[in-house]
């Protein structure tokens, strides 16, 4: 077995599987092409045909370079899994941006890449101009990207895979998902899709009916329902209209989307456990406990703070404007029921601070949500209590501490340490983002708000994100969304792999010249 792995180089393995993921994505472009055909949007259809051809060629080239991987059935090692996940996301960002560029709704390739990364990472920040007049095909593509990005591009490729590949689990973990619902990865990825598709049917139907009630035409109501569900379930934040969720002017529409994005922010392991009959998991799980406690406290503090300032006159408007936005931020969705500048002008520093905190905390691990996750907050909090208890009790009476996440798990120092490390990485990413914002002259609170939004893959904006913002900020925000979604390890592995390759090349050229 070792001979096989050595015979095929890491480069070939990475190239083959990246090509495979790219080909799967190229195949997905058939959906917007069919949409364009149905709605007679010929320009959009041509855009997607060109994009599909380019993506297919790139995919075939990459898979062709690494073809010996298939012939020799080479094993995927941990380093390959991480690098493939990170590299696939990067390559796909560029390929999926092509239809945006061809549509004429975007001013540069950088803006298109920003929007695609925002979709993939389920962030929801938008640089596309004139959203209200976008073709149905491009809208379908935008929302598909965010829906698939929520479950994971690699997860999708593994689901489509004809047979189980050795080392597929390493690919799966590379995309920041580590839960095993059934013993094989293919089965696990299929369960993830099954859960999402059942909710897609239920959620779209609910929003469609509500859309009809609030006065949308049947076809338009269906498309709006589908797009809004895809965004809400994947905690994305994209909407087909510029006004986002405010376009619908409906409490019922807002309530349904709120329920969908709360459910979307839950761990797939939790959904599966509840669907298997373990319904107590909903209240026993450390992640749901952490989410319900932090979101409840955040909502109440913000409502209390803004009620003192008389920003909103009654309960219903407070629920629709405050609670909705706080929960949207906490689940890292990014649907907003107030205009971007209202956060800065009406909410004040206290409101903004709470939003920054909840955006950074985020939803659940192994879900569609971003942020440093409720599981890690719960673990660090329990770890702190464990340390205090250890300090206060005698050495003899020390016991093992546990936390409940699907099953009882041992809370030891290594678990607390790894959770703390990821939280520190998020805080550094957030800190740099805030610093860059202030460097370009934006106020501290606004810079912090926007940095938290990109780091936690939220998508709410305070008004900084626009096509006019400096290119450096756009690039940093892309990096922050990318690193935040993949939870650092894969990106670090890719950087390490590229740096190692450059070092080898330098050493070789030095040897050759000497």
């Amino acid at each position: 077995m070792k001979f096989r792995t050595n015979a095929v180089s890491s480069f070939e393995i990475i190239s083959y599987y990246t090509g495979y993921v790219v080909l799967c994505t190229a195949l997905l472009m058939t959906i917007p092409i069919i949409t364009a055909l149905v709605f007679a949007e010929w320009n959009a259809m041509l855009d997607f045909l060109i994009s599909m051809a380019i993506a297919t060629l790139v995919g075939i080239a990459l898979a062709g370079i690494g073809w010996r991987t298939k012939q020799n059935r080479a094993n995927i090692q941990w380093k390959h899994g991480f690098v493939i996940a990170a590299l696939s996301w990067f390559v796909l960002m560029i390929l999926c941006a092509i239809p945006y560029c061809l549509s004429g709704h975007i001013s540069s390739m950088l803006d298109a890449c920003f929007d695609v990364m925002s979709g993939f990472t389920t962030t929801g920040l938008v640089l596309t101009q004139d959203l209200d007049h976008l073709s149905t095909a491009l809208n379908m593509w935008r929302h598909m990207l965010t829906f698939i990005g929520g479950q994971g591009m690699v997860v999708l490729a593994l689901t489509i895979m004809i047979r189980e590949t050795s080392g597929a689990y390493r690919l799966y973990v590379g995309e920041a998902k580590d839960i095993e619902l059934v013993p094989n990865v293919k089965g696990t990825t299929r369960i993830i899709w099954r859960i999402s598709m059942i909710y897609l049917a239920v959620g779209t139907a609910a929003l469609w009916i509500d859309g009809l009630i609030i006065g949308l035409k049947p076809v338009s109501a269906f498309l709006h329902a589908l797009f809004m569900f895809e965004s809400a379930w994947s905690t994305g934040g994209f909407a087909p209209m510029t006004q986002n969720i405010m376009y619908y002017h409906s409490l019922s529409f807002e309530t349904i989307t709120m329920i969908i994005f709360i459910l979307g922010s839950f761990n797939f392991g939790l959904h599966y456990a509840i669907w298997q009959g373990k319904r107590k998991e909903l209240v026993k799980n450390i992640e749901t406990q952490s989410f319900f406690i932090t979101s409840f406290i955040a909502c109440m503090l913000t409502v209390y703070g803004l009620s003192r300032a008389n920003v909103y006159p009654d309960t219903v408007s407070a629920f629709r404007r405050i609670v909705y936005n706080v929960i949207s931020a906490h689940t890292t969705t990014g649907f907003g029921t107030v205009y971007a500048r209202q956060f800065a002008l009406e909410w004040g520093d206290f409101g903004i601070l709470i939003m920054v905190i909840v955006m950074l905390i985020g939803g659940s691990a192994c879900s569609t949500a971003g942020g440093f996750k409720g599981l890690r907050v719960g673990i660090v909090f329990k770890g702190l209590i464990m340390d205090i208890k250890k300090l206060l009790c005698s050495e003899r009476s020390r016991k093992a501490y546990k936390f409940h996440h699907i099953k009882d798990q041992l809370l030891d120092d290594s678990v607390v340490k790894s959770s703390s490390l990821i939280i520190i990485c998020y805080m550094v990413l957030f800190g740099i983002g805030t610093m860059i914002g202030t460097f370009y002259g934006y106020p501290l609170s606004s810079s912090a708000f926007e940095a938290a939004s990109v780091t936690g893959n939220v998508g709410l904006s305070i008004g900084i994100t626009s096509p006019a913002m400096p290119a450096v900020m756009k690039i940093y925000y892309i990096i922050a969304m990318y690193m935040g979604r993949l939870e650092f390890l894969s990106v670090f592995a890719l950087i390490g792999y590229v740096a190692g390759g450059i070092k080898k090349l330098c050493v070789k050229s030095l040897k050759f010249s000497s």
Binding site: I198, F266, H271, Q276, L282, M300, D314, T315, A318
Partner: protein, 35 residues
Amino acid sequence: MQRRMNEIKGLFAELLGTLIYAGLIFSVTAIIMRG
């Protein structure tokens, strides 16, 4: 069949749990706004 039933019950349990939570937040919001 049993599996399907469990899934449907699970789905309703999740929806109901989230609705109850939203209702709880709405109630406390009402108390704070009246206070």
